[in-house]
């Protein structure tokens, strides 16, 4: 019991370190928040006119749930970068040589990144409200949508931790930063998978991002693509299942990668 208490306390101490970063050096956090805002403005006003939404709805109404999910997906880079930086600067080793709970290194990281994502989502909601996005369902449904987004973020967090532990060099971080884009775009965030070539559309609809986006669109009462495929029909189920699958794969992988540091 005592060990669990220290694991939580130490994890919180490491999380606080990141919160202090926000205060002392807010620029990277602000830039990180500006990016999805810029994308909302870019797609909402620049390209939005050229894309028609099923049922004749407003494109920005349609766009925002996708942008929430993109914000969540882009968090992977931040996680990976932070893990890699600490490992390459010897800070992870210092933590590991101290009498703290070893889990705190990753627990602290996930705590900080989850808080960061909550903040990012709040900013995106504010931005959405400004450009005309609204939720039309109940408050409970809207809240469920945010929980689904954060669930996906939590699952992707462990992808970031794993990649950060395994590829401990800045070049790999750059590769992931580039790869996140096609993975983000190869989904139903901007266009309907039905409009893509068959195989590409299938990949796009099975992208975990797509399930969360479809589910949140439904929950917010925003227009969506619909689509008759099994995966599109079971978005709500998959929006829970996908993150759990990702977690089931990457949590043990991360634990193993962390243990392998002593090999």
């Amino acid at each position: 019991m005592n060990r669990l208490r220290w694991a939580v306390a130490d994890g919180w101490t490491v999380t606080q370190r990141d919160l202090l970063h926000w205060v002392r050096q807010p620029a990277p956090v602000v830039v990180g928040l500006l990016m999805p805002i810029m994308m909302v403005l870019m797609f909402g006003f620049l390209f939005g006119g050229a894309i028609s939404v099923p049922g004749g709805g407003d494109y920005r109404e349609f766009l925002l749930p996708g942008m929430f999910a993109m914000t969540v997906a882009f968090g992977v880079e931040g996680t990976m970068l932070a893990v890699t930086t600490d490992a390459s600067r010897g800070i992870t080793d210092r933590f590991r040589s101290m009498p703290m709970a070893p889990s705190a290194v990753v627990v602290g990281r996930s705590g900080a990144d989850m808080l960061n994502s909550v903040l990012a989502l709040l900013v995106m909601v504010a931005c959405g409200l400004l450009v005309g996005w609204r939720w039309h369902g109940s408050a409970g449904a809207a809240l469920t949508a945010f929980v689904l987004l954060l669930l996906l973020r939590f699952a992707l967090l462990w992808v970031g931790i794993y990649l950060g532990l395994v590829f401990a060099n800045p070049g790999a971080v750059m590769a992931v930063q580039i790869l996140v884009w096609p993975i983000g775009f190869l989904s139903n965030v901007f266009v309907a998978p039905e409009t893509m070539p068959g195989w590409l559309g299938t990949i796009a609809s099975w992208n975990p991002l797509s399930s969360t986006v479809t589910a949140t669109r439904e929950l917010f009462g925003n227009p969506g693509w619909g689509g008759g495929s099994w995966i599109a029909q079971h978005a709500m189920l998959m929006a829970v299942l996908w993150p759990l699958v990702i977690l089931a794969v990457f949590f043990p992988l991360s634990v193993r990668a962390f243990r392998r540091m002593s090999r």
Partner: protein
């Protein structure tokens, strides 16, 4: 004994990083671990600091077994690695408070300890500034402070002054001396022989993953024979004659450095050899600019023992 390692082995692929590494460090002493790059110094320190598990062998640190009591060992050691492992964005004070809390000191005690350590490492004034603004020496001192949160029984310093200017090196050296004066045992790896000479009472020379020589710096130096007779001439043309004289007196081949107009050779009988060389040179009318006897440097010891330079 503060550190006892017996037959430590660690293999990476085909390479044996440690191959039967034995080391004993007495409490309250400074042991210098000296060796060329890739000799296994850092691997040894990382194993003794619980960061790596050895493939074989045993070790006890502060009386605790590394294999079964790693968590307890961590409460008794401090590690200052090759890089300055402190948070650049936070202030020195914030760093130390964080490390204090992670040593389970509690908020109030962590703050008190942070203030105490900043003061003692001469960082009190810079304590509130972000570490980014610190000089290399200041960072290293903060790093040392972070390795000393609980006043460790054993402090590992892995190349603590690599990349520092001479002034910063001196700062770090005096900080280390102050720690040792209070009874901390230090295991220091370095590739600077003068650093080992300055700080360590005992030196273990490591090559290919095992200790190949041990002793005090003086013992190691006398291992490669006596003193070195060194003379510098005015004229390069006199070099062959001088080399001949030195060779006859010392009985060993003289080393001739043309550019420095320098001749040197090991001699056993210090004063007699010096007198004889001076007399013989005067007889032949060879003018001498400088003549001296000096103890061998650890560099020469090293070259002799490993057949390669340290910073190879």
């Amino acid at each position: 004994m503060a550190v006892v390692a017996e037959g430590l082995r660690k293999q990476y692929g085909d390479k044996m990083a440690l191959d039967g590494f034995d080391l004993t460090v007495a409490e309250g002493t400074v042991c210098g671990l000296l060796g060329p790059n890739g000799a296994g110094k850092t691997t040894a320190v990382r194993i003794l600091a619980t960061l790596l598990r050895p493939d074989g062998g045993r070790a006890r640190v502060a009386g605790l077994d590394l294999g079964t009591d790693a968590a307890a060992v961590r409460a008794r050691i401090g590690l200052v690695g090759q890089q300055t492992a402190v948070d650049e964005v936070l202030s020195g004070w914030q760093n130390l408070v964080m490390f204090g809390r992670l040593h389970h000191l509690g908020a109030a005690r962590a703050r008190a300890r942070a203030a105490e350590l900043l003061d003692r490492f001469g960082l009190a004034e810079a304590g509130r500034k972000p570490v980014k603004q610190y000089s290399g020496g200041m960072r290293r001192r903060l790093d040392l402070a972070a390795g000393m949160i609980l006043a460790p029984a054993v402090l590992y310093l892995d190349e603590p002054t690599t990349g520092l200017d001479p002034r910063a090196r001196n700062e770090v050296w005096s900080a280390v001396r102050a720690l040792v004066a209070e009874g901390t045992t230090v295991l220091l790896t370095t590739q600077y022989l003068d650093e080992a000479d300055q700080l360590a009472g005992q030196i273990s020379v490591i090559d290919h993953g095992r200790v190949i020589a041990e002793g005090t710096p003086e013992q190691l130096k006398s291992r490669i024979g006596g003193d070195q007779l060194e003379l510098v001439l005015h004229e390069e043309s006199d070099l062959p004659a001088a080399a001949e004289v030195v060779r006859r007196v010392s009985g060993a081949a003289a080393e001739v450095d043309r550019d420095g107009r320098r001749v040197s050779a090991p001699v056993r009988d210090r004063v007699a050899a010096l007198t004889e060389v001076v007399r013989a040179l005067a007889e032949r009318g060879v003018p001498v600019q400088d003549i001296a006897l000096r103890r061998p440097t650890l560099d020469e010891v090293f070259l002799e023992l490993t057949g390669s330079g340290v910073a190879a």
